[in-house]
Symmetry: C2
DNA sequence: CACTTCCTTGACCGGACGGTCAAGTCGGCG
DNA sequence: CGCCGACTTGACCGTCCGGTCAAGGAAGTG
């Protein structure tokens, strides 16, 4: 990998990441060899190691970039909304929309979370996201719109709902985002009871 | 692997599974070699292949056995309870209790779900569990104690809450099961709102 | 003791895979 | 044109690891 890259180089680098992401999503990280990645692009193996120091580094960059992009989208969606409950709702919807646009990342993130090497990064990303949610929850508790329970546990629970519905309906079945989002929101806000 | 095993053989087989489970949980499946497993038991490599056809087969059996055990525990807990809402609650509590007793299985299951080879088995297990939950939800909707929404989505949402709280509080922090269970249940039933 | 069956050993094999590198190509610039 | 540095090639290497197997106990039976 080089720090200086010509526009042509930037292009190649992006190609490698995109191509690797597709293969990682289809077959998994370990079963996809560096040889597979460069073959899919029709280039020699040296190209890979010109842009990345290792296969690990590529995945690490991919995770970093995707997390950054997701967070950006969440923040844009929430904007300057004042109502904490509504902020949580907008965050949930933005997350589902993002995974709808980037379905291939779900499996990769899921895997990375189970791998000793990448788990710390994923754990950190999750912590940050949880911390955001906690802030909104605390605001809601103070103003009385959210019931007084451990905000961290509530945040984890919301994340669980979103993750599972994303997997089952956005990634696996590609159902309409709004439909899934409506249920994710109503379940998180009001639970099961009639 | 043999179909006929003496008591001594059964013992060895169990030792191998237990030992492998510990190592898989600590270091992950791929990074744990067969050589590691037999070394941890202080025996030769041939022992492994006397009891199992492959490393894959051992993991498959481990997953099958753990799933069977978890389901048994859930069914025992639910027993003959008639109230659907209460049945769901008992199922949630039983699940959290089981993972409290078998923390090492969580990471293994999580990983297996991301691996092409084992994902189908895990998907099937999950489907069965979801189907159980759906039955209780439909009962509840009919009798009016649960609101009228897509029961499958509700079931997935509940599973998401349980999985995430299990990971964060039972597996990672070993907090009191009852405390976590109380929140999992109240969140699932009543959501966030005050 | 002889004989079988169950179990154990550990050196060895084959192949896959991450990573290296000497050699070459290409495009731009003076 | 000549040169330089950005890129590309693909054969090659070392290692690791799942899996094999010929040989050797040990335990039970007659």
């Amino acid at each position: 990998m080089r720090s200086k890259l010509t526009p042509r180089g930037q292009e190649r680098r992006a190609q490698l990441i995109t191509c690797a992401a597709r293969l990682f999503a289809e077959r998994g990280y370990h079963p996809t060899s560096v040889a597979d990645i460069v073959a899919a692009l029709g280039v020699g193996k040296g190209v890979f190691y010109w842009y990345f120091a290792s296969k690990e580094e590529l995945l690490a960059e991919l995770l970093k970039a995707s997390n950054h992009d997701l967070r950006k989208r969440q923040q844009q969606a929430i904007g300057t909304e004042a109502d904490p409950v509504r902020r949580i709702e907008l965050g949930i919807r933005a997350t589902l929309e993002w995974f709808h646009l980037h379905r291939e990342y779900f499996a990769i993130i899921q895997f990375a979370a189970t791998d000793e090497t990448f788990a710390p990064v994923l754990a950190r990303n999750r912590e940050i996201s949880i911390a955001d949610t906690i802030r909104h929850l605390k605001d809601g508790i103070v103003e009385g719109s959210i019931r007084d329970a451990d905000p961290e546990m509530l945040a984890q629970a919301i994340h669980g709902v979103v993750a599972e519905l994303t997997r089952a309906y956005i990634v696996e079945r590609d159902e309409p985002v709004d439909h899934v989002a409506d249920l994710a929101v109503s379940f998180s806000l009001d639970g099961l009871r009639a």
